[in-house]
């Protein structure tokens, strides 16, 4: 991963330069420290931390997790320590690691998103914000910000005004036309777009005729969603000009390469961390090995090279 390799793998995401295109996906990597016993965190392109809200959130009652065919459903419910506890208790550890930290943020209202964004911008050691717009907008009867182009625009615009950090907007796949939302957040000033968040799903215990998850529905992640994620990334890449970050079902280097070829400038690895805590490191090595084998000197010569 050292010297010449690191140069060839570097990518630029809205002004933030990453030493390689592999980051962790929010909610699957805790606040980083949980994985320090398993990998050298400084080899990662970036760490995206668990979504942060203005006050701590309790999350949903159990069961919160159910394995499904080649994936899992989760209804953790955006449980988090809150932005201030994150800065006081979790960020000091991450500041000591030579890795860009991206804070994933969430809220019930545009104002809440902006407040969290503002607080994080004042803190030392945050390199970018990722806005999770797959959250219900309390002021608008609970409709998700991410399914409505106007709401997505407003929250993006608000966060952009509240911070000087690069702003990545993370899209939900639970929409009819993802390109419409993507264009809307680009117009609102997003520096980059990441996708996809989890797909809403349901799993039923037929013996008891109850849902497996207490919350009834949950978010599907893992290999099961990869083809959907890849299709959506490919569509969005052609609809916008800001960098796109591919997320969804990336388990191995080959999966990450599919996203890069489809046009993603970087990728995030989520559920794979649960299966194998060393997944990210193995994926970075695998990408470098592929480039070696194919004689590709710079990863930029690989991104968006899908032949159709």
């Amino acid at each position: 991963m050292k010297d010449n390799n690191s140069r060839r793998l570097a990518v630029d995401i809205g002004g933030l330069v990453l030493k390689n295109p592999v980051m962790t996906a929010s909610g699957t990597f805790g606040y980083g420290e949980e994985y320090a016993a398993y990998i050298d965190l400084s080899v990662l392109g970036a760490i995206v931390v668990k979504g942060l809200s203005i006050t701590p959130r309790e999350g949903n009652p159990p069961s919160r997790i159910m394995e499904t065919a080649s994936g899992m459903l989760n209804a953790v419910g955006l449980e988090n320590v809150g932005v201030r506890a994150f800065i006081d208790e979790k960020l000091p550890f991450l500041r000591e690691v030579d890795v860009p930290v991206i804070a994933n943020i969430l809220g019930d209202t545009v104002e809440e998103y902006c407040e969290v964004a503002h607080i994080l911008s004042e803190a030392e050691g945050i390199h970018a914000l990722e806005v999770n717009i797959s959250c219900p907008n309390v002021a608008q009867g609970g409709i998700d910000f991410g399914v409505n182009p106007e709401l997505a625009f407003k929250v993006t615009e608000g966060v952009k005004n509240a911070t000087d950090l690069p702003v990545i907007v993370k899209l939900t796949p639970n929409v009819t036309d993802i390109t419409e939302i993507a264009k809307s957040v680009e117009d609102a000033g997003a520096d980059a777009i990441s996708l996809i968040n989890t797909l809403t799903g349901l799993s039923i215990d037929i013996e008891k005729r109850i849902p497996h998850l207490k919350n009834i529905t949950g978010g599907l992640s893992g290999p099961a969603i990869k083809p959907v994620a890849l299709r959506m990334v490919w569509e969005v890449v052609r609809a916008v000009s800001v960098p796109v970050i591919g997320v969804g079902g990336i388990m191995k280097a080959g999966d990450a390469l599919e996203f890069l070829v489809a046009g993603a400038r970087a990728v995030q690895v989520g559920t794979a961390n649960f299966v194998n805590p060393r997944s990210t490191v193995e994926i970075i090595k695998g990408i470098a090995a592929y480039m070696e084998r194919k004689g590709i000197d710079d990863i930029k010569d690989l991104i968006g090279t899908l032949k159709t």
């Binding site: 699957t28 899992m72 290999p223 805590p277």
Partner: protein, 279 residues
């Protein structure tokens, strides 16, 4: 900090035998430098071959010892779904990936305290290891170890000869009355609780949720400290996914959560809000 390269171990199966219907004992060879564990800690276990099950499954360490210069781990488990059914099909020389030992184990007090173990069904898995630990590692330091063991039916009360060696007395119960007391094991404990010295006894319990919740009630009623091993569905086992949260007890802590895999799986019964979860 642990060496990242060594933090994930490969286990090689020596045997994986059905003890009685749907209940298995897996004996594994693990690397010589597999970290020492405390009874009550668990491992995330996953078949090395294939993608099913997809996530690892948590199992308590049933025993960990060295034999002929090799480190051996035992897992006692029951088939309770797709994942465990696939694990049950593994045979000698098959390989599994192991994360662990994980979590916080039992905290055995210092001094001549009476150790009261209470097992419901598969709950015997970590308590067997705890009994071994009390007898072998803490020999002569502790008071007597007694075991209350309840199960569905007589043939579910297995390993009694080994347990008899480890404990000074065994009190047994079955749900169907085929052996010992006819009824829940917690009845036996509640009946004897007055005779436990409050300051000189510690309860250690593991079993189904209803049973450990009842143990929390008994512990409170008789003011005897009680440590329980809690189960919750897990995805990562290392504190990252928040899938395994339990709510902490106490005023003004409604937003405080504990992760079974990290702050647990062993908790003092007073640490948990027992009303958060149903069942």
């Amino acid at each position: 900090m642990a060496d990242p390269e060594k933090s994930i171990a490969t286990g090689i199966i020596i045997s994986n035998r059905e003890i009685f219907k749907d209940h298995f004992l897996m004996i594994l060879r693990v690397p010589a430098d597999f970290r020492a564990s405390v009874p009550g800690q668990f491992v995330m276990l996953r078949r090395e071959e294939g993608d099913h099950p997809f996530l690892g499954r948590p199992f308590s360490i049933h025993s960990l010892y060295s034999m002929n210069g090799e480190t051996v781990m035992e897992i006692l488990y029951r088939i309770s779904g797709m994942g465990t059914a696939l694990i049950a099909r593994l045979t000698a020389d098959d390989r599994v990936t192991i994360l662990g030992p994980l979590g916080r184990g039992f905290d055995v007090p210092v001094g001549k305290k009476k150790i009261v173990l209470v097992a419901g069904g598969m709950g015997i898995a970590p308590l067997f290891y705890l009994a071994e630990y009390c007898l072998e590692e803490r020999r002569g330091e502790l008071g007597e170890t007694v075991l209350y063991f309840g199960a569905q039916s007589s043939h579910h009360l297995f390993g009694l000869d080994r347990l008899e060696r480890l404990c000074s007395s065994l009190k047994l119960s079955t749900d169907d009355g085929t052996f010992g007391y006819h009824g829940p094991v917690t009845d036996l404990v509640a009946g004897d609780a007055l005779s436990f010295e409050r300051n000189d006894s510690t309860l250690f319990a593991c079993g189904p949720y209803g049973m450990i919740k009842e143990m929390a009630r008994i512990a409170e009623k008789f003011s005897i400290p009680c440590q329980v091993s809690v189960e919750e569905k897990m995805a990562c086992g290392i504190g990252a996914c928040l899938g395994c949260a339990v709510r902490a007890s106490g005023e003004n802590t409604s937003k405080r959560f504990m992760r079974v895999c990290k702050e647990g799986p062993v908790f003092d019964t007073r640490e948990i809000d027992w009303n958060w979860r149903e069942g």
